[in-house]
């Protein structure tokens, strides 16, 4: 099986599948609402010039997430 990791550790251009989403209830809810649900495929497009936040693609759109929040999303690299 591919190694489980977090979204924050994905290299630029890397693809992964969401396994689970952590964080407190309200943060978890927001992440889920934006489509970061188990089974969804994400791709890290780029990092902002200052290194944070990151831009990911999922479900056909682009989303900006801070690394601290992305660390709560565990993924398996594809």
């Amino acid at each position: 099986m591919p190694n489980p990791s977090t979204l924050a550790k994905l290299p630029v251009g890397g693809r992964a599948r969401v396994l689970s989403v952590g964080g407190d209830a309200s943060l978890q809810q927001r992440l889920l609402e934006f489509g970061l649900i188990p089974g969804v495929e994400v791709k890290l497009v780029r990092l902002a010039p200052l290194g944070d936040p990151m831009e990911i693609t999922l479900l056909g759109y682009n989303l900006s997430v801070r690394k601290a929040d992305a660390a709560l999303v565990s993924v398996e690299a594809l």
Partner: protein, 819 residues
């Protein structure tokens, strides 16, 4: 209804328009309703909805454009507005009979998430599918018939800019409104569904006491979030009994699982099934146009450079492009003032003063900023429409988060450098309440353009010219690093430097927010649409004129009254007598001549010719010294020629003598009139306040006159220049670069003959205005945006206190160093 009996063939329906942000929802709203729209402000929240009218056959449709949202989760009062509006609980907007759900075809899944929530309310619904062209460019094709079949509501493709699909949308909507809506049934785990039912039944019991009937979707929200405004209401109404029942129902529903996950999986699960059939994705190699643009605009080097360049252009254009427009507005108000004054009899002195100095002066002083606001909003609207704004927030988030803010705070704060008011209004895009309040609180720290005249005057008066790195001729060098420029630049930083610790204190203290995630969609780039931009300008410009205009008018009248009354008769008589004595030394024709009324006599013609010559001279004096000679000679010969043309008139000699008399009389009378207004001001309530506060402002290096000017500038900062002009016995029409006020400040001497003010005073006045919140309009808008007087009052007290302390230190240090 009486309406129905009088016009039996007219149906009326209200329809809510709901959708994610950046989906073309506003474009659709404008395309449907045109300019027939008004803004509904919901009390208690910063959210507003627009209401517009359209019609289909004999049906009158009222469209309620709800704010863009990703979900109906009601974590805050702002987020609850959409739910309350859908349920018709808000007085400001009618109860909707149906709903149009705007769905962006290019990111169908995320957009349908909101749709699943809305469809659970069971209102008759139509899905308006937008951005189909964007989807196509990415190889996505959507079969609307299949999508409609699987979702269970009609789906209509619309393209608002092209105007296609609008008639079909209305026809389908019209049909849907005549059938009962269906509640969408999703496949939740059985226990979850049962838990929601149990809680809903419990809420219905509570409904009598709550005063409204909670809907089933609201019960689900409580099960999922166990928090929010409805929860608070239920707990305070239902007490411990309710809390116990709620806990039991929730435990039953969740069985130890994450509620948010259950909900999201049920919704996205249904969406996956719907789209499997209805959507086909053609494999495309390579990046899309939008991706390539994004690669440059968010590039480490290029992205940062473009961003910095863009900000510089916005900044500079706010100053330079606005200048001629602002001059135009100023002239328009000056013209208006003369026109109105001509209608008021001369002996109505108080009314004349109120209209001229109070109303026209006060309102004009604010409206003059309209061009800057419109320019700023043009940039904001274009960048927003293009999709760059979210990239700016993306670029700046790291930096702003260091101060406890978010990337979304950046643009409002940048805009505040032009004017704090649009800056604060721009903070509405920040979802997190505490971050939004902090951003609003920090906005007045940014040096707005109204402070520029104060800086310009003080720098011209007290900061020496010169600098380093001279270029050009030795006699007239141009310094690359110029001391006056540096001081001006420093003033802009003073606010920023104090804003940072303020932000840190606020975000760690009373406005501490849970680490709010910076989850922001980065929409694909689009061409800006003139109609959208015009719409934003119309709304924002209008609201500035209305809101700031009404409050500023009231404040301007108050300050005018304080500065005008009691307007003692003795002072009047004393100066009337002086004018009387003076006029005895001059011919009657000279004393009675009024250039504004007499335009035809020989005297008037001579005066006009001379006035024209004076105007030319003023222009020539702005030229460099070595270039003045030729035009000066030309102007002189023109004057002689113009006068010669009048020689043939029979009364020329007499009129010329009268004119010379008039000139001298007018000048001397002007001095008396200035002294008169100066004395009235000194004796006015405002003047007395000035003397009362003198002990407080003396340590700042100010005298009572500067103190009073600072107080009087409360309605708008730049008023300080006009007030100083009046107080320093000059008449209040002085422009910030007028040599006389500058020289007067510089050369003002005390009773001991020493100069009263120096560099230290100049710096102290500038620092005070950089940090204080002396702007009635800013405070009024802050009240509106935060929905409480607490924030503007706190802002005023804090900033005035801070300004005082920092100004005191500045003056004392600068003075000790010999300034």
């Amino acid at each position: 209804m009486s309406d129905a009996s009088t016009s039996t063939r007219t149906d009326r329906h209200a329809v809510a328009l709901i959708g994610n942000p950046n989906t073309g929802k506003s474009s659709l709203f404008t395309a449907l309703t045109g300019t027939r729209q008004k803004v509904a402000n919901y009390p208690g929240v910063t959210v507003e909805a627009k209401v517009g009218q359209t019609s289909y056959e004999n049906t009158q449709l009222t469209i309620i454009d709800l704010p863009g949202t990703y979900s109906l989760a009601a974590r805050s009062p702002d987020e609850r507005v959409a739910t309350d509006a859908l349920l018709g609980r808000l007085d400001e907007t009618p109860k909707p009979d149906g709903v149009i759900i705007v769905v962006d075809a290019s990111s169908l899944d995320r957009n349908l998430y909101l749709a699943t929530q809305v469809l659970e309310f069971g209102l008759p619904a139509v899905i308006a599918l937008t951005m189909v062209d964007v989807a196509k460019s990415r190889g996505i094709a959507i079969d609307t018939a299949k999508l409609a079949q699987s979702v269970g509501v009609p789906v209509v493709e619309v393209n608002s800019p092209a105007g296609t699909g609008l008639d079909e949308l209305k026809a389908v909507l019209h049909n849907a409104l005549h059938h009962p809506g269906k509640v969408l049934k999703l496949e939740y785990p059985a226990e979850f569904a049962r838990g929601v039912e149990t809680l809903h039944a419990r809420l219905m019991d509570l409904g009598v006491k709550l005063g409204y009937t909670p809907a089933r979707p609201e019960a689900m929200r409580l099960v999922v979030e166990a928090a929010g405004p409805l929860m608070d209401e239920c707990v305070s109404t239902g007490g411990k009994d309710f809390v116990d029942d709620f806990k039991r129902a929730r435990e039953l529903a969740l069985g130890g699982q994450s509620a948010a996950l259950i909900e999201a999986q049920a919704r996205y699960g249904a969406i996956a099934r719907w789209t499997r059939e209805a959507r086909t994705q053609e494999k495309r190699e390579g990046a899309t146009f939008s991706d390539r643009v994004d690669g440059v605009l968010t590039h480490k080097l290029w992205g940062t450079l473009i961003f910095a360049g863009l900000m510089a252009v916005i900044f500079l254009s706010i100053y330079s492009w606005a200048a001629p427009l602002m001059d135009g507005i100023e002239q328009a108000f000056a013209w208006l003032s003369t026109q109105v004054l001509a209608l008021i009899p001369d002996d109505q002195k108080m009314l004349r003063s109120l209209v001229d100095k109070g109303i026209i002066g006060g309102v004009g002083g604010v409206l003059i900023f309209l061009p800057q606001i419109l320019i700023l909003f043009t940039f904001i609207a274009v960048l927003e429409d293009v999709g760059y704004m979210s990239r700016a927030a993306f670029l700046m988030d790291r930096l702003m988060s260091k101060f406890g803010l978010s990337g979304k705070s950046f643009i409002p704060l940048l805009g505040s450098f032009a004017c704090n008011i649009p800056g604060m209004m721009g903070a509405r895009v920040i979802e997190d309440r505490n971050t939004r309040l902090t951003t609003i609180f920090l906005a007045p720290f940014m040096s707005c353009s109204a402070r520029l005249p104060v800086y310009t005057l003080m720098i011209a008066a007290f900061v020496p010219e010169g600098g380093w790195l001279p270029v050009g001729s030795a006699e007239n060098p141009f310094y690359l690093i110029n001391i006056q420029g540096l001081v001006l630049f420093a003033m802009y930083w003073v606010g920023v430097i104090f804003a940072i610790p303020t932000a840190l204190v606020l975000k760690r203290g009373i406005l501490k927010s849970k680490l709010t995630p910076f989850l922001m969609e980065l929409p694909s780039y689009k061409w800006p649409r003139a109609r959208n931009v015009a719409q934003v300008l119309w709304e924002r410009g209008g609201s500035f004129v209305r809101r700031a205009g009404t409050i500023i008018l009231a404040m301007a009248i108050i300050v005018w009254a304080l500065g005008y009354f009691p307007h003692g008769d003795e002072t009047e008589k004393k100066y009337d007598a002086e004018v009387e004595t003076l006029s005895k030394n001059y011919t009657e024709a000279a004393v009675n001549f009024d250039p504004a009324k007499d335009k035809v006599s020989t005297l008037a013609l001579i005066a006009q010719v001379n006035a024209a010559a004076d105007e030319r001279v003023a222009k020539i004096e702005q030229l460099p010294e070595e270039k003045r000679e030729a035009p000066a000679a030309e102007s002189k010969s023109k004057l002689e020629k113009d006068l010669a043309a009048l020689h043939s008139r029979a009364d020329f000699a007499q009129a010329e003598a009268d004119f010379n008399q008039f000139k001298e009389f007018d000048e001397k009378k002007g001095v008396i009139e200035k002294a008169r207004s100066g004395e009235h001001l000194r004796n006015s309530y405002l003047g007395r306040m000035g003397h009362a506060i003198e002990p407080a402002v003396a340590p700042l290096g100010w005298d009572w006159r500067i103190g009073v000017a600072a107080i009087a500038s409360f309605p708008a900062r730049e008023v300080v220049i006009g007030v100083m002009g009046t107080i320093f016995n000059l008449g209040d029409e002085e422009d910030e670069t007028s040599d006389s006020l500058k020289d007067l400040l510089r050369n003002e001497t005390g009773p001991d003959g020493r100069k009263l003010f120096g560099l230290a005073t100049g710096l102290s006045v500038m620092v005070f205005f950089a940090l204080c919140c002396q702007c009635g309009a800013t405070l009024a808008v802050m009240r509106r945006e935060t929905n409480s007087w607490r924030w503007p009052i706190a802002s005023f007290l804090y900033m005035t206190g801070l300004a005082y302390v920092v100004t005191l230190l500045t003056y004392q240090v600068a003075h000790a160093l010999g300034g």
